[in-house]
Amino acid sequence: MNKFYGNKLAIFIFSFPALLLFTAFVIYPLFPEILISFQKNDGFKSMGYVGFENYFNVLRDPTFWKSNVNTFTIVLISTCMGLPISLLLALIMDRQGERVKRFFKASSVFPAILSVTVIAQMWIAIYEPQWGLINSMLRGIGLDGLAMEWLSDERTVVLAITAAFLWQYIGLNALLFYTGIKAIPKTYYEAAVIDGAGFFRTSLKITIPLLQDVSKYVLVLSVLGSMSQFAHVRIMTAGGPGDVSRTVIYQLYYKAFSASDFGQGCAIAIIFVLECLVLTVFINKFVAREKVEF
């Protein structure tokens, strides 16, 4: 078997069909996009090359910077709040009996397999200012002053969308963490128990350190997923009120498809790629660099 995997020709032959499709349908379309970013282009025809004008226009546009702030707010909340909650859920799930575990597993995956449209509509109803769940609960306990127009108020709209996004994926991330936990050999825990370690100590000293590969994987997924946030925004607020809740990808969509300015749309795409690359390099450089072996 090792001999087979060492045969470069065999590797090439078996991976060629997939590589061919990937090149034709994913890599090849990149090049026209780069060209378009230097053109005045309405999506149908080029009206000539304009150098870096599209890039300058994008960078001068306050909405682009606002969309960046919104995107990084979502990334920050997803990683700094969402991932610890997912990890905590996974740790709790691991300590439950089989029946509870089964329930946890099913309910963790359920929101993630639902259509974004369904999730977004559900949260629109939850946030509805007059009869929505949140405001009704707040009014019910006498906190009328806290009842807000969650999706129409510029102070709350991005947080409200992030909550819906988090809710959808927090369970799936918990399940990924749980899978990582199950891969840790039981002997470590048995030794820890003999030494008198409790839940918090074993979690802190054994589980979390040994989960670093899974953590890195979930972190990358979470960061890239949050960076490319679009569907929830499109359905829940259409980027509004005004342009307040636009993310970078939404701004790209708006420029290319609503305003028919594909030149600026592609320029935003390229800037966004650079942002993603910086984040990827950062994660690779600073997160979980040492290989953990059980």
Partner: protein
Amino acid sequence: MIKLTKLASGVVAIAMVFSLTACGGGNEKGSDSTKAAETSAAGAAQTSQATANDNERVKIKFLSLSADDNRNNIRDKYIKVNVEKEMPNVEVEYDLGGGGQDYANKLKAYNASGDMPDVWFSEQNLSSVVVEAGNALDLAPYVQKSGFDKKFKMQEVVTPDKDGKLYCVQPGADQYFTPRLWYHKDVFAKNNIQVPTTFDELIKVCETLKGKGIVPMSIVGKDGWTPNLHMLQTMIMAEDPQVALDLTNNKTDFSNPVVKSALGRIQKLVQAGAFAPGVTNIDYGPAVEMYTSGKAAMLAMFTWETGNLEKASPDTDFIVWPSAKDGNDANASIQFWGAPLSGYLVSANSKNPEVAANFAMFCATQDALYYNIEQKAPTALDTGVKVEGISPLLQKSLDQFDAASVKIPSMWAATFNTKMSAEISTLNSKLLTGKFSADDYIKAINPVWAENFK
């Protein structure tokens, strides 16, 4: 290996991002694979005489919307049926384009290739792109030759543009759609509220209704829909209709004081609590439902909802949008929805331009017949059919429509290009928050407006 992994993850990240815009790039034909083009069996049941003339028959490819009942009925029950009788020398290949973005993508793909169908139906925003690309035929000579232009009650619908070109023939149904302020007579009577005749009275009515816990006015706030489609223009016309006309003809811009006052009036309505909480996120369906369910006392909406509103809320009536200036008679001017390029167009590259032009005029006539007979709605194109059985509410609207001496096309439908539409949507949505000043609005929109007619 680690480097290879990093490289691979970088490439995948780039690819994922780029593929989003790549979807909207040049090659859009592939996305239409699910939309089967239907080839008509138009000649299948022909008479023997028609069969004898097969060699002389001209083939016309016709692209039509196929996602809404009106368009399907017009094509299947009128065009398909009557073309056999009225244009026996024509064999039509029907290309069903779906609706919405699917239809737009299909038409855009045809336009990008330059290989348009002979005849197609499209709205202003799509038509203007085709005209700009030089792919639409000037129909003015054919319309004048056939006398089609003489059949219009509103001549502006078939008047060539400033270059003497006419790119579209239409049935003239849209021209009768106008924005109204619908209200529940019962709610007004129960709360002892008089119908407002001035803008200031309207504000007072809104304050009174809000004080009683009723949503005063339901509007579609998502994407700034109601201000986009009519409220901004309505507020301009409430003070000086000429300014709205000047805007449609590019004789003024948004820094005009009347426009500024109009923006201020929308802001005043927001601040008076005229709209429902969270208005910037209310879509079309919920807005209409808010009114028909009785949660809102008034509804700002076009007359295309007349039938539905009459059925759902029998106590419905409408008022003409109140005037905001002494001496400006609100009944004297009216805003209509139709646009010069919403209708049937012909390819500039059609092999049989005259037959295609005649088929386009035939389609417009069948379209008008459908509205006259099935919908009992009038059209600017006179089909010879006397429309009977019009509901009292629609009749009241039509009487006021006919009595208005100044009829101004919708700026949104007839004037704004794609970029202008997108930007004004954003600004109108901001305006509905009540925290966006008229000055900021004007500062943001004027540069886009300056590009609108280029």
